[in-house]
Every structure is written in structure tokens, then in C-alpha cells.
Symmetry: C2
Subunit: 191 residues, 2 copies
DNA sequence: AAACAAAATAACACTAGTGTAACTTTATTA
DNA sequence: TAATAAAGTTACACTAGTGTTATTTTGTTT
């Protein structure tokens, strides 16, 4: 006994994603969102009482999804194969990494529910970090990764690499290959 | 015959910088700026009629300064020495690179003066790119840089590397060394 | 010390986003 | 087909930022 919804949570999240990337955290408003979904602003308030709750919910949703995909990488495969899959995966989730950085712009005085979700997000992030750190340790043990580099630098480098701007619009597959290449072998000619 | 100013352009730019980084483009307001400088909001309007003009002026100022510093790098030095200086330089200007990305959040309908400054900024950017591209070409000719990598990928990699988050708070000099290391030699052990 | 001009402020009208309450629409089910 | 309940809209009061104008402050010059 219920009326059909004009917009799904998926559509809400999708619009949230693109508006956040386009206008930034403070530039993102329920007015813009309502316009983009072609519904009244009040309709959105039925599901989320403010933008922080919506955004953090979206972040948790994406991070959970990413973590599931991450854990589906075949751990019995070679290190090289796993690293390849990892970089491709991070690349497909690059939007969320940019958006994740907006948490620090949230108002200090947040409700309990938001503080809880923030903690949950922190846990997801830690889970991801632990998983990746494990992979790095394996990579070092197997003599693929340089022992002298800290895991922070290696992982930081991988995560930043996806944000290198593709100004010339190189086709995605080719571009990812280039990125993997520099990250793995660096910019120097090996003597 | 003039009253002493309560705030210098330097102070204005410094406050603009830190507020932009803290609150983002839309979160940055003249109210926050006035509070931060301990002056009335209207005092700022005497110098800039809106935040876009202030921000773009700040961007042009920083980019000009960076370009001057860049051109002071000794072109007769070895490629390695020049690259070293370049990365250190980009590192000292890392704030402005983050802020520069906010131009795409400016309102579409901007005044003539802003359009002009945007163009000027574009020219400065192009000048910088040309200079850096020259350095990359030299690096390839001298067999330091890998011929197979495009200049876009190499430069993109260098510019992104400065944004790798230093979560553990490694001392700056040590951190920069690590960054240079990964960028130049990659994450892989050389077989 | 009177005139002046730049610097700064106070105060106003205006705009846009926020969150809520009362109301209407729509589909289900009893 | 009348009751019901979720979905959606309209309308209101509230808040915060914007840009401008009139006025005051402050230091210099003649």
C-alpha cells in the first residue's frame, strides 16, 4: 500500500556524486539536488534531514562496495596480477576518493548519527588500509616491491596516481597502462 | 595624506589561502575573511568587489611568483640537479596547486575583468608547461628520462606526487626525498 | 588647526539556502 | 469503494552571505 517513488536511492546517490564533483562540498545544496532529480526539495528531506547525512551515507555505501570488490581480488594469484587488479579497481572508484576528502569540511558540531557514520567510515578505511598493507608486505617478501620504501609512500603514490589529469583524453585503457607503468618503474631510464 | 591600512595585501592573500584550503571555494566567504583579519566585511569590499576577483588575483600573484622562481633554476646545471630543484619548488607551492583546481567552480557568468584574469592565468600555466616540457625533452635527450613515457604522464606524475598525504608526519626534508625516490625509480625492485 | 582624502565601519535591502508543518496525491487493500 | 499510508508538494519562518551607501575615523598637508 504505497505510492511509487519518483527517485531511487541509486539516482539520489548518482546525482549527489556528480553535483559534489561539480560544485564541491559547500556548493552542493538540496536545491540543486532537487532540481537535478526533478522533485521538490522537501521530498529529499523525507529521506535525509541535511546534506551531511546524505553525503556520509553515500560515502559509506561506496566504500563498502569498494571493499567488497577489493576482497574479491584472487589472493592466490601472483603479486603482479593482484597489483594490476588493484590499480584498475582504484581507478574505477576514483570519484569517491575525491569526495572522501570533503569529510574535513563537515561542520564541527555534528549530530550523533553523523559521528557514528564517520566512525564507521574510519573503520572501513582502516580495513582497506590493512588489506592493502598486507598486499604490500607480500610484494616486498616476494621481491617485487622495493624494501626501502615505506608502505605509506607506496600506497600514497598508487592512490594519487589515479588523479593525474588526462588532459589529452587518451583512451581509458591506454591511460591506465601508462599510469601503472610510471608507478611501477618510475620516470627514470634504468641504466 | 592617508590613514594606515589595518591589513596588507600579503595578509589578505595569506588568510585567503588558509581559508580556501580549510573551507573550499563555496565555503570561503568575505564574512570568514573579515573575521580572520579582524576588520569589517565592508573594508574588504573596498579592494575586491567579490570573492572571485580576490581569488583569481591571488592565483595570478602566486603563479607569477612560482614562474619567476622556476626560471631562476640554473639551466646550465645537470638535468638531475634541475629536476631536484623543480620537485622541491613544486613542493613549496603545493597549496596553490590545490587552490588552482577551484577555478572550475567559478560561476559561468563572470565579469570581463575575471575573464581577462582567467586568460592571464591560462597563459601563465602555458608558460610553465612549455618550460617544463623543455626540461623533459632535455631529460629524454640526455637519457635520464624514459623515452616511452609521454611528457603529460611524467609531469602529471610529478605534480600529483606532492599531494601524497604525509599521514605519519615524516619530517619534510626526509618526506620530499622519499617522494623524489618513488617518482624517479618507481615502486618496483629493479631485477 | 582647518581642510583633505584614504580607510574603515554601521546599517540596509536583497538573495539564496535551511528545515518544518500542513496539505495533496496516488496506489494498495480490506 | 472507502480507508489507509507512503510519497510528494506548497508555503512559511529563519539564517547567513552579498553588495552598496552613508557616515565616522585617522593621519597628512598647508
Amino acid at each position: 500500500m504505497t505510492r511509487e517513488r519518483k527517485f531511487s536511492t541509486q539516482e539520489l546517490f548518482k546525482a549527489t556524486n556528480s553535483l559534489l564533483l561539480r560544485y564541491g562540498y559547500e556548493g552542493f545544496t538540496f536545491s540543486l539536488l532537487a532540481e537535478s532529480l526533478d522533485v521538490s526539495r522537501a521530498a529529499i528531506y523525507k529521506y535525509y534531514t541535511n546534506k551531511e547525512e546524505l553525503i556520509i551515507d553515500y560515502m559509506v555505501y561506496e566504500m563498502t562496495k569498494m571493499l567488497i570488490d577489493l576482497q574479491e581480488i584472487d589472493q592466490s594469484a601472483t603479486f603482479i596480477a593482484q597489483l594490476n587488479e588493484l590499480i584498475t579497481l582504484i581507478f574505477t572508484y576514483k570519484d569517491i576518493h575525491q569526495i572522501l576528502g570533503m569529510v574535513h569540511q563537515f561542520k564541527e558540531s555534528s549530530s550523533t548519527i553523523i559521528m557514528e557514520k564517520k566512525e564507521q567510515l574510519g573503520k572501513l578505511h582502516l580495513d582497506m588500509y590493512r588489506y592493502l598493507e598486507g598486499l604490500m608486505i607480500q610484494g616486498k617478501k616476494d621481491k617485487f616491491l622495493r624494501e626501502t620504501l615505506s608502505n605509506d609512500v607506496i600506497l600514497g603514490c598508487i592512490f594519487q596516481s589515479i588523479a593525474i589529469p588526462n588532459h589529452r583524453g587518451i583512451p581509458e585503457h591506454e591511460w591506465i597502462q601508462s599510469i601503472k607503468d610510471v608507478v611501477c618503474y618510475g620516470i627514470f631510464e634504468t641504466k
